[in-house]
């Protein structure tokens, strides 16, 4: 039975009573390690409460007004039906991949087309993984996404039911990308809390693409937590496309942990949503790790997107690169808070961070806070942040070459965004994103004319 949150009670109590009601029945998964975290997590959530903008980390993003709605919590195992044609509409063309579809946070086997995977590789639901691979889940689940100071992670951990599970055994390369299509379907306002776990063992190589869609006009609030582990010499290339409806909001927490000589890259492209908060924490805990963080946000209407990143250099001799770009139009708001943390004795760290924004309208606001917190001396760390308009000289040049004003501006914006899109190493996805970006930029000028 779906549980509807009782909006007469304060937001925090609603979740506590929903937890009480569902605990022992719907919430009891098949896996002991998943269930064992629930009690501690709900207790911590009870202490922390729903974040408000009085907290420094939530200063510019008031998620409490999003949380404070009459959502249903779909806690039953039943998944609503989705037409295959609806799925076809959202799929990326020409993307040859192991496709896995989730509906409201649960893996839908009927719509998925995983195909043949290399030996030992697992792409399944987290619930199944809990039953079939309890040792892997036990070793990694809840180990990276700490809920001590994160109320939304605590909430997710208390209510975890399902999500995507990917396992790549030692020395195995998954050649085709794993393509996750996350769909939200609901007639009523709904809150879902998917939980994903990606484990790439020593020397494993994988690419995971996640696209988030909503097939509903109802208000959707998604509270995702994703944990990723990359073993020594492993390589995980990760992409998130946030293309939900304008009535959708989400808090998305990604915690990645990687070991010696490994590479973890993540690229988040946000094109729509009402309020989106992305928490990204990367911990390179080994020597010669490379962490890459890329993000692009194209704001329109009333969108509010907040990217929080933390690279926690707990080990010496690592490199991290970070580049986030924003284009803000209409009354959209953008927040970026990037932090590079170099722990004592983490010597010889090279960490680069850059945040660039173009603000196109008077109503748009950009809040940037690029931080460095450094406790070791033999390091090279830098950050840069810029905010400005399109370069009028560049536009003049293009116009002198015969481009219309509109074409010139679109081209300039595309050039700005291309730095992020170029980091996509899957051709079909890059084409798809380039096309979407072009459409978006064109729409900026169609309206104003």
């Amino acid at each position: 039975m779906p549980t509807t949150l009782d909006t007469s009670a304060p937001a925090k109590d609603r979740f506590l009573s929903a937890f009480e009601m569902s605990n022992g029945q719907a919430l009891n998964g098949k896996n002991a390690s998943i269930s064992s975290h629930r009690e501690a997590a709900i207790q911590r959530f009870a202490e922390l409460g729903v974040p408000t903008n009085k907290l420094e980390a939530w200063k510019y993003t008031d998620i409490s007004k999003i949380v404070d709605r009459e959502y249903t919590l779909p806690l039953s195992m039943n998944v609503p039906d989705v037409d295959a044609s609806d799925l076809d509409d959202v799929l990326i063309e020409d993307l040859d991949a192991h496709r896995v579809v989730t509906v409201n946070g649960r893996v839908h086997n009927g719509l998925s087309d995983i195909g043949t995977l290399p030996d030992g590789v697992v792409v399944s639901s987290l619930a199944d993984a809990g039953a079939n691979h309890p040792d892997i889940v036990e070793a990694h689940y809840g180990k990276y996404a700490d809920f001590e100071d994160e109320a939304m992670t605590a909430l997710n951990t208390a209510f975890v039911q399902d999500g995507l599970f990917v396992y790549v055994p030692s020395g195995t390369a998954v050649e085709k990308p794993i393509y996750a299509v996350h769909l939200t379907v609901s007639d009523a306002d709904v809150m879902i809390q998917p939980r994903h776990l990606f484990v790439v063992e020593d020397g494993g190589i994988a690419t995971i693409i996640e696209m988030q869609h909503t097939l509903t006009d109802a208000r959707v609030f998604t509270n995702t937590v994703r944990e990723a582990y990359v073993g020594a010499r492993g390589n995980l290339d990760h992409y998130i496309g946030q293309v939900e409806s304008d009535a959708s909001s989400q808090v998305q927490t990604t915690a990645a942990y990687h070991e010696d000589n490994s590479v973890f890259s993540t690229n988040t492209i946000t094109l729509s949503g009402e309020m989106v908060r992305n928490n990204l924490t990367i911990t390179p805990d080994g020597e010669f790790c490379e962490s890459n963080l890329y993000g692009l946000y194209l704001g329109k209407d009333q969108m509010h997107v907040d990217n929080q990143t933390l690279v926690d250099h707990v080990h010496a001799d690592c490199v991290s690169n970070e580049l986030y770009k924003n284009v803000l139009n209409d009354a959209s708001k953008g927040v970026f808070n990037g932090k590079v943390f170099v722990r004592p004795d983490s010597q010889r760290i090279n960490a680069y961070q850059s945040n660039k924004s173009i603000v196109l309208s008077n109503e748009a606001n950009m809040y940037t806070k690029p931080e460095l917190e450094i406790y070791a001396d033999d390091v090279q760390c830098s950050h840069g942040a810029t905010s400005g308009q399109l370069d009028e000289e560049g536009i003049f040049y293009l116009r002198s070459r015969g481009l219309s004003e509109k074409r010139a501006r679109i081209l300039m914006l595309q050039a700005f965004a291309q730095d992020i899109v170029d980091e996509i190493r899957v051709d079909a996805l890059r084409e798809h994103m380039t096309h979407r970006l072009r459409e978006r930029f064109a729409s900026y000028f169609d309206r104003s004319e």
Binding site: D377, A385, G388
Partner: protein, 488 residues
């Protein structure tokens, strides 16, 4: 350079922290503790007009509210220290002799000797350096030079208390107009119990003929200093103000919570420079040392006005200050140049706020942090571009240098953009002294310490160049002294 100036600089450049002694001037001191009676006592002792007492009391009542609310204490900074016990501080002390002097002759020899040891021979400075000095010893101004010359131009340069009595209309108009007493915890405290400070008023069209300078000195055991400085530059005027500080050595923590307000009207320019070299606490244990928790803010009220902050922070156990500029007038300019040097157990959380409100406003922030030993050094800044601040322009650069592997350097810049025509750039770097640079210096025959001094001076050069000449030389020496013992 004249002989006496050289001596003066050499005095400052002496190696140990030699300003750590305690002058034996008996003080007229208020009992420890903070309450409404103390506020009234301070006001009465200073012979203040009724309205000023009223303002203090309003501030005090507000502060009382803050004291009762534990959450109101500002704990967000990247600092770890024991909160000062506000009830264990004496809020007023005046040298025992009468509070005002007409000429230097009336100043007791003991006080003059103190200044001598500090390296500020007032008499000689008067003739040789062209700097008027309003020396604040504890809380009451003891000597003011060059007053006459300034008077000719119509420049008012006097202690705050004097100004409140002689020019109440100017003080009343501007006091709290930039930093209201509700601004923050320490601004509220200062507004209630401020002891004295400097007041500068530059009339319309006047270029102040000399650099104005105040030497602050915390002297009496157990007295926090709560200066209040107000500088008003009328239309088309210019003033450059220097502030420099040293403090005697002692064990208990000393609280220093000053407020500095600057008001620049149309086409006016204010240049405010600070050298702060207060007792940083025991270098081994971190014990003692001054808490420097200061609110400094200027407003570019008129069009085309300019405010520039330059600071060299080398002392204090804890420093928390953010000299800020509100760019209200169109085409106004704000600047912030800072070198913060921390070593031993020192902690600094400093930076600036540039609030762009007017059109075509420009701001520049250049901040250099140097961290050695077990010190923690943070830059925290805000660049805010308001909705109507067309064509606002900001450039920020924050560089940190780390010397030794147990120190920390941190950057927390906030950038808030509310206007699309704004162009804002921020860049920051953190690194240690390059081995290639050291190698080059060694190769040219410089020892390790000399090389480090050279490199650090080069790192800070663009800031030091912003200081008035007298300060620039002193600053360079000061940095060199601070660096000693940092190698290895």
């Amino acid at each position: 350079m004249s002989q006496s100036e050289t001596e003066y600089l050499e005095g400052v450049a002496s190696k140990e922290y030699e300003h750590g002694w305690h002058t034996d001037v008996e003080s007229g001191k208020a009992p420890k503790g903070l309450n409404e009676d103390i506020v009234r006592y301070i006001s009465q002792r200073k012979d203040e007009p009724e309205w000023l007492l009223g303002w203090r009391l309003k501030a005090f009542r507000y502060f009382k509210m803050l004291m009762e609310d534990e959450d109101s204490y500002p704990e967000w900074a990247h600092l770890k220290y024991v909160k000062p016990d506000l009830q264990d501080i004496s809020y007023f002390s005046a040298p025992k002799d009468k509070a005002q002097y007409d000429s230097l002759d009336e100043v007791p020899d003991e006080l003059l000797e103190t200044f001598e040891r500090l390296g500020i021979p007032l008499q000689e400075q008067k003739q040789l350096t062209g700097v008027a000095v309003d020396a604040v010893m504890d809380s009451v101004s003891v000597a003011t030079t060059f007053k006459e010359k300034l008077k000719e131009k119509g420049v008012l340069f006097m202690s705050f208390g004097e100004a409140a009595r002689q020019h109440p209309e100017i003080v009343r108009e501007h006091l709290g107009s930039v930093i209201p007493y509700t601004d923050n915890y320490f601004a509220a405290l200062n507004s209630a119990v401020f002891s004295d400070g400097s007041f500068v008023y530059v009339p319309e069209g006047v270029r102040c003929p000399m650099e104005l300078s105040t030497y602050f000195r915390i002297n009496e055991q157990g007295t926090g200093q709560f200066e209040r400085t107000l500088i008003v530059a009328e239309k088309g005027s210019y003033v450059s103000y220097l502030e420099g500080c040293t403090a005697p050595m002692r064990k208990e923590n000393q609280l220093h919570a000053a407020c500095v307000e600057l008001v620049a009207h149309e086409d006016a320019e204010i240049k405010y420079s600070t050298i702060q070299n207060w007792y940083p606490g025991n270098p081994e244990t971190g014990e003692g040392g001054v808490y420097n928790l200061v609110t400094k803010r200027g407003i570019c009220k008129g069009d085309r006005s300019k405010i520039s902050w330059t600071q060299l922070e080398t002392g204090s156990a804890v420093t928390q200050k953010y000299p800020s500029v509100i760019l209200k007038g169109d085409d106004s300019v704000g600047e912030f140049y800072s070198v913060a040097f921390t070593k031993g157990h020192q902690q600094a959380d400093t930076g600036t706020k540039m609030v762009h409100l007017g059109k075509n406003t420009k701001s520049t922030i250049i901040s250099k942090g140097i961290s050695a030993g077990k010190a923690q050094n943070s830059y925290r800044g805000l660049v805010k571009v308001g909705k109507n601040a067309e064509n606002a322009r900001n450039f920020s650069q924050c560089d940190s240098l780390l010397i030794g592997d147990q120190c920390g350097a941190h950057t927390f810049p906030y950038i808030e953009i509310g206007n699309p025509s704004a162009q804002v750039e921020h860049e920051a770097t953190t690194s240690k002294v390059g081995e290639d640079q050291m190698f080059y210096c060694h190769q040219r025959g410089l020892g390790e310490e000399e090389a480090l001094k050279l490199i650090v001076n080069g790192f800070c050069k663009e800031i030091l160049a912003e200081l008035p000449m007298e300060f620039a030389v002193e600053a360079k020496e000061l940095l060199a002294i601070e660096l000693e013992g940092s190698v290895g």
